[in-house]
């Protein structure tokens, strides 16, 4: 196994996760989104199978090691945030707002978790490991190409804008970066990695950092005027049906 952390701001954003996992396999950092350009990865988590001869036998697809798991520090952070929200004394108006937020969050969870093979995906990998080319999950080379992500010329233009955005963001020219990110999102509306990456760069700053900072993919309450993107996670997710965010793979 090889893991690739796709993160424009570089290794430190991935460090805590990798050091906690203590991997014995190569654990790489992709600051320039090469996994998108070279393989066609458009959302994470994402898995690609390559055989002993260097031939892809399953193109990039949503895949999981099993049921949802979070690192302990992140799970604790989520519990603490939930407990604080629960214990706060709210006015009736605030209570109504919180109920609406919870209902919206539940809708998002249903869309994001729909159509997945979390429990069975590892079994498919084990089947391939045991049977090799005879595994029912292995695809022919033509099938691999045909089932890789669609990429008309407009998506190449979008990828070029995204790379310009990442380059300018790292150089500290954030306004120029945002313009390229927005153009990339317009040209590649189905590329969730491009969206989540760009939103998280800004969200992290607006949230003031922290363990959950990079998961801030919408304007924090009261900071809506500072959100520079044409959309955000909740608005784009709301346009989908369950199974469209992570298409079923098996």
């Amino acid at each position: 196994m090889v893991t690739v952390g796709i993160e424009t701001s570089g290794p430190d954003a991935c460090r805590e996760f990798i050091e906690l996992a203590q991997p014995e396999h190569p654990s790489l950092i992709d600051a320039t989104h090469q996994m998108e350009a070279r393989f066609g990865v458009v959302n994470i988590p994402n898995v690609t199978w390559i055989d002993e001869h260097g031939v892809i036998v399953r193109p990039p697809e949503p895949g999981w090691p099993g049921p949802a798991q979070y690192p302990k520090f992140l799970a604790q952070q989520m519990r603490t945030a939930a407990e604080e929200a629960e214990s706060a004394e709210l006015t009736p108006e605030e209570q109504r707002e919180r109920d609406e937020q919870r209902a919206a969050a539940e809708r998002v969870r249903n869309i994001v978790s729909g159509g997945q093979d979390r429990d069975t995906y590892p079994d498919a990998i084990r089947d391939w490991a045991e049977k090799g080319a005879a595994s029912e999950f292995v695809m022919s080379p033509d099938e691999v190409v045909a089932r890789s992500q669609p990429r008309p010329m407009t998506k190449s233009v979008g990828a070029a804008h995204f790379e310009l955005g990442c380059h300018l963001w790292r150089a500290g020219n954030k306004d120029a970066a945002i313009a390229h990110f927005n153009e990339a999102h317009r040209l590649q509306p189905d590329n969730w990695t491009y969206k989540r990456q760009a939103w998280s760069l800004v969200g992290y700053e607006l949230a003031g950092g922290g363990a959950m900072g990079r998961f801030t993919q919408n304007a924090p309450p009261g900071r809506e005027d500072e959100w520079p993107f044409d959309s955000d996670f909740n608005r784009d997710i709301a346009k989908l049906e369950p199974g469209e965010y992570f298409p079923k793979t098996m």
């Binding site: 090889v2 993160e7 996994m35 190449s156 990828a159 790379e163 300018l168 990456q197 990079r214 993919q217």
Partner: protein, 111 residues
């Protein structure tokens, strides 16, 4: 790939895109696209043949060459592309060094 001068050498284009410029043309795995190689390497012509976008940000003196879009698919061949990325310590790892083993490449992100 990002460059500040679009007058690229063949070698720089190969390193940045993963396409090799051979006698047969521009090649990746078992796929080759013919090129007119009678003159010097022409990046714009090569990008057009591979259906790669070339986007210029004049304000910042940058060019970006997007990935190929041949066949309107992200993969033009099932041969795994060249991939060289650093680990946490900055040490580069080449995916091709794992030939002879089955490999599962798992992409993730901290967001």
């Amino acid at each position: 790939m990002i460059v500040t001068d679009i007058d690229l050498t063949k070698e720089a284009f190969e390193a940045g895109t993963g396409w090799e410029i051979k006698h047969e043309g521009a090649c990746k795995g078992d796929v080759c696209v013919t090129l007119d190689q009678s003159g010097a390497f022409d990046v714009q012509f090569t990008a057009d043949r591979l259906r790669m976008a070339v986007v210029h940000d004049a304000d910042h003196g940058l060019w970006a060459i997007g990935p190929e879009s041949l066949g309107d698919r992200a993969l033009v061949t099932a041969d795994a592309p060249e991939l060289v990325l650093p680990d946490l310590d900055g040490d580069e790892f080449r995916l091709a060094t794992l030939r002879g083993q089955k490999v599962v490449v798992v992409s993730w992100a901290p967001y």
